[in-house]
């Protein structure tokens, strides 16, 4: 017991010391939300139960061990003296029943888990440490079986502190044993086997992927509580941060934040992230699971030097962490190609039962590659240059930004003027892209029809910096964030309507970090409200079937699910795809992939085939990038569906009879 305790404590102290070497990141506050996360994600197993079968199996084992927890102490007391037990609880019949029931449930869980792993063999386990998982399942089974047998032998010997009938399984098993010397020996064997297995498990646990038993609850506690789409800003010119501590993303393990390290400790290699990943599903190199496992292996490989460097702290006491010659994370721990495969859709983060934040890891790796190594897919270079030079990713002239509105009588807010109640932030795609412009025209027309007082910034609107940020060019992003916040604040902007989920996410979730606090509203939300208030009265087309594709940055990252569906219901007959709502499947444009070449199968093709399978006439979207990607997909797949933004559909359904639809 002492040995096991010492091994366990030593490892935990090492892991804690390792976490203290991590770069700072703020994960305080919002305690009520964190308590709720513990209750639902840890105790309620909510994220595990996203997959009902394997989720239930895990929940049985997890809940089983919560109940069986006190029996560890009872067994330890029992191991020392066969006549002693834990005061009160050890005598309770109802507790004996609970233990009986949950020990059996744990065994059912173990057998089902083995069934999944050995017979069904889902693809999500490819690359995981399968032998380790088998060993752990065997240990769990041993713990449950020895417990039942110990109870059974005690009943046979009449040593049970509770009525034998209260523990039906143990009682049944007791028939295997006689009331003789053999049983007396076996009773000792079972209790010691039980205790030794638990102690062995305790010593082995923090050295295995089962470390998650200890870290998952902590990782969930420190998980993000705000919108999933917000990225942590890098602090380039914070006077409180010494120059050598300024992070440019993650180049080596010394650059990882403590939360990122804790993420890697918490990974159970379950592969749910990989199963949800659109890049993996279309044959790209990226597997979010292998990425986290690669980082974890590197963290443990560097762990000793990181802890020593931190303790020594430079000068004559050995190298400081900045002076350590650590291996580069890319390509050492993570292949470069997989870093660029990510579309930042967040499906992995949502699927993860232990609140690992894969996208933050990937963006930090990109930041280092772009800002320090200048190494990124060359086809994206024109986008970065055009954002920086021309304030939009296609290098169009800013003077043409409001050309789409030329004949619509839209007010352009001049410098010095104060914004009306709503500022319509058009976004680059809807300003310049031929297909996406239709959304801008529809949005403006609808706002006019409903009598909403709004204006646009015209040539003073610049890219939010989102594509540069998702590429890893935090520097360019921050320059644009500061410029746009200055423009918006100088115009007294309070409420912003936007039809681009990427602008929506950046303006609403990321600009507060740069002094921009606005109420940002997606156009689908505005229009759903205007329809509900009767200010827009769409004519419903009977028989027009429409399937709605959720944008990752709207649905998954920002929980806007109902408003676009209300609009679809108001203009036609909705048909849902299987992967919808927060379970949506990316169009392929996110994470700056709009400006990168795709390797492997096309993500948009995969999605368009799913949409076509619904038999719907129209594929509705609420994002200009989804519009372009899915329209391209429809053309290359030859599925012949119409791809249209919800605003376009609503504008058609509300068009006065004499006025042609926009």
């Amino acid at each position: 017991m002492v040995l096991s305790g010492a091994l366990f404590t030593r490892r935990v102290q090492f892991l804690a010391a390792l976490l203290r070497t991590g770069a700072p990141v703020t994960r305080n506050g919002d305690t009520s939300r964190r308590v709720r996360n513990e209750a639902s994600i840890v105790l309620g197993q909510r994220k595990l139960l996203q997959r009902i079968g394997p989720g239930l199996i895990h929940a049985l084992i997890f809940w089983g061990f919560l109940v069986l927890g006190p029996t560890i102490v009872i067994a330890m007391i029992g191991a020392v003296s066969k006549h002693a037990t834990f005061p009160w609880l050890g005598d309770q019949g109802w507790f004996a029943l609970l233990v009986d029931v949950f020990a059996v449930l744990v065994l059912i869980g173990v057998v089902s888990a083995l069934w999944i792993r050995k017979v069904i063999r889902p693809a999500r386990f490819v690359g995981s440490h399968l032998g380790e998982a088998d060993l752990i399942l065997a240990l769990i089974a041993t713990i449950a079986i020895t417990l039942l047998l110990w109870h059974a032998s005690r009943i046979a010997l009449g040593l049970n502190e509770w009525p034998a009938g209260d523990a039906p399984v143990s009682n049944l098993l007791s028939r295997l044993f006689g009331r003789d010397g053999v049983t007396r020996v076996l009773e000792r064997v079972f209790v010691w086997a039980h205790v030794v297995t638990i102690l062995g498990f305790l010593a082995y646990l923090p050295r295995s992927k089962h470390l998650h038993i200890a870290t998952a609850a902590i990782n969930v506690w420190f998980g993000r509580t705000g919108a999933g789409g917000r990225l942590e800003p890098l602090r380039f010119d914070d006077p409180d941060i010494p120059e050598e501590d300024i992070r440019f993303g993650a180049g080596t393990t010394a650059d990882l934040t403590w939360k990122q390290m804790l993420d890697t400790f918490s990974c159970t290699e379950c592969g749910r992230c990989q199963d949800a990943c659109p890049a993996f599903a279309t044959g790209k190199l990226l597997s979010p699971k292998l990425l986290i496992m690669g980082l974890r292996d590197q963290v443990f490989a560097d762990g000793g030097s990181l802890v020593t460097a931190r303790a020594g702290g430079g000068a004559d006491n050995g190298p400081s962490s900045a002076e350590l010659e650590l291996a580069a994370l890319v390509p050492g721990a993570v292949p470069e190609e997989s870093v660029w495969d990510c579309v930042t859709c967040g499906a992995c983060v949502q699927a993860c039962p232990v609140s690992i934040e894969h996208v933050d890891h990937i963006v930090d790796l990109r930041r280092h590659l772009v800002m320090v190594e200048s190494s990124f897919p060359s086809e994206a270079e024109p986008m970065l240059r055009d954002v920086e030079r021309s304030s939009n990713p296609w290098g169009k002239a800013q003077s043409e930004r409001a050309d789409w509105a030329a004949d619509l009588g839209v007010r352009i807010l001049e410098p010095g003027e104060i914004s009306p109640e709503y500022l319509y932030w058009v976004g680059c795609a809807s300003s310049f892209d031929e297909r996406a412009r239709k959304t801008a025209e529809a949005t403006a027309t609808l706002l006019q029809r409903a009598g909403v007082d709004f204006a646009i910034l015209g040539p003073r609107e610049a890219c939010t910096g989102d594509p540069a940020r998702r590429m890893g060019n935090e520097y360019v992003f921050q320059a644009f964030a500061e410029q746009n916040v200055e423009t918006l604040n100088a115009s007294g902007v309070g409420k912003i309507i936007t039809n681009c989920p990427h602008c929506f996410n950046t303006l609403g979730n990321e600009y507060p970090d740069f002094g921009g606090d606005y109420e940002v509203i997606h156009h689908s939300e505005v229009f759903a409200r205007l329809v509900a208030e009767g200010r827009l009265k769409p004519q419903r087309s009977e028989g027009l079937t429409i399937t709605y594709h959720d944008s990752c940055y709207l649905a998954r990252h920002n929980d806007v699910l109902a408003p676009p569906r209300e609009l679809i219901g108001a203009v036609g007959e909705p048909v849902e795809m299987k992967r919808s709502g927060k379970e949506t499947f990316c169009c392929g444009a996110g994470g700056a992939h709009m400006w990168m070449e795709e390797r492997g199968d096309a993500i948009n093709g995969n999605r368009v085939r799913e949409a076509a399978a619904t038999g719907a006439d129209t594929l509705a979207v609420a994002c200009p990038f989804c519009t372009v990607m899915l329209d391209d997909g429809v053309q290359s797949e030859g599925t012949g569906m119409r791809v249209a933004d919800v605003a376009t559909l609503l504008a058609e359904a509300t068009a006065p009879r004499s006025e042609p639809a926009t």
């Binding site: 086809e379 994206a380 024109p382 986008m383 240059r385 055009d386 920086e388 030079r389 990713p393 296609w394 290098g395 169009k396 795609a429 310049f432 892209d433 031929e434 297909r435 709009m594 400006w595 990168m596 070449e597 795709e598 096309a602 372009v628 391209d632 053309q635 290359s636």
Partner: protein, 287 residues
């Protein structure tokens, strides 16, 4: 003394670099060329040895010159400024240099000895080079420095006419229909001495290599005439061809957005229109 590396006496950028060196007023300009295959690290070692005691070591601001001086700077552990248009010696020296492909001029201090910089194209007018000393790679260059590995050889596409420099580019889009369908595009390109391009949809479908792509994620072109066949005119494509002086669009869909930017429009199937144009060119030439 200033050590000035040149690629050759006829090389215009080298002539400009030598003229620039002469204008600095730092004494004699020693002009050297290095014999043998390009090996940047070994050549840099040679310049380091020749430049011992020099006030400045400079090179023309082309790919090789910049690479070479970067190696020199690394070996000497001194700062280096690339693509300078003006240099005022002093302690520290000030330089004005071209950044971001010519969109920015940066004023910077260059604190190092010797001064290491390359000269941007057209910073000064070229002058004939009076005397050049041709040397071989110094014995001081290590065996590792001499090794040059060819990691990739990129074949020129489009029958020898480069996409970015071509006066005429003929491109095909999704409307071409297949890899084989490009024969009509290639035929017209050959008659016009043009380069063949394509849209992103075509490279995504694997009909043409990525090196042929015209667009935001491919090559940006600025030909006298751009002939776009079966291309709808997506923003990503137009971002790559907006530099074209004249645009002829051929597309069966009269609503295609490419017609908004086209100088000449043919609404029709490229598989009929393009062979007809080729036939017409042949007829005119044989007449």
């Amino acid at each position: 003394m200033i050590l000035c590396f040149v690629a050759g006496t006829e090389d215009e950028l080298s002539q400009q670099a030598v003229a620039f060196a002469g204008s600095l007023g730092l004494g004699e300009v020693r002009v050297v060329a290095i014999d043998g295959p390009f090996a940047p690290a070994a050549w840099a070692q040679t310049l380091v040895e020749l430049g011992a005691g020099a006030e400045a070591v400079i090179a023309p601001g082309d790919d090789r010159g910049n690479e070479l001086l970067a190696h020199v700077a690394a070996k000497l552990e001194q700062p280096m400024a690339a693509n300078c248009v003006a240099v005022t010696p002093g302690a520290p020296a000030t330089v004005r240099r071209v950044r971001w492909g010519g969109s920015l001029l940066e004023e910077a201090r260059l604190d190092g000895a010797p001064l290491l910089f390359t000269v941007a194209a057209h910073a000064v007018a070229a002058e004939p080079i009076a005397a050049v000393e041709t040397v071989v790679v110094s014995d001081g260059a290590s065996a590792a420095d001499r090794v040059v590995v060819v990691s990739e050889t990129v074949a020129a596409s489009g029958g020898g006419v480069s996409l970015s420099d071509a006066d005429v580019v003929v491109s095909g889009g999704r409307g071409v229909g297949s890899s084989e369908g490009f024969s009509v595009i290639e035929e017209l390109a050959e008659l016009l001495g043009a380069a063949v391009g394509c849209s992103r949809a075509v490279t995504s479908a694997g009909w043409r290599p990525h090196t042929d792509q015209v667009g935001q994620t491919g090559t940006k072109i600025a030909p006298e005439l751009y002939i776009a066949c079966g291309i709808s005119g997506a923003t990503q494509h137009m971002a790559g061809c907006k530099g074209a002086k004249r645009l002829l669009a051929i597309n069966p869909d009269g609503e295609a957005s490419i017609f908004a930017s086209a100088d000449y429009a043919v609404i029709g199937d490229l598989h009929e229109v393009v062979p007809a144009i080729s036939a017409e060119i042949r007829k005119a030439r044989s007449a």
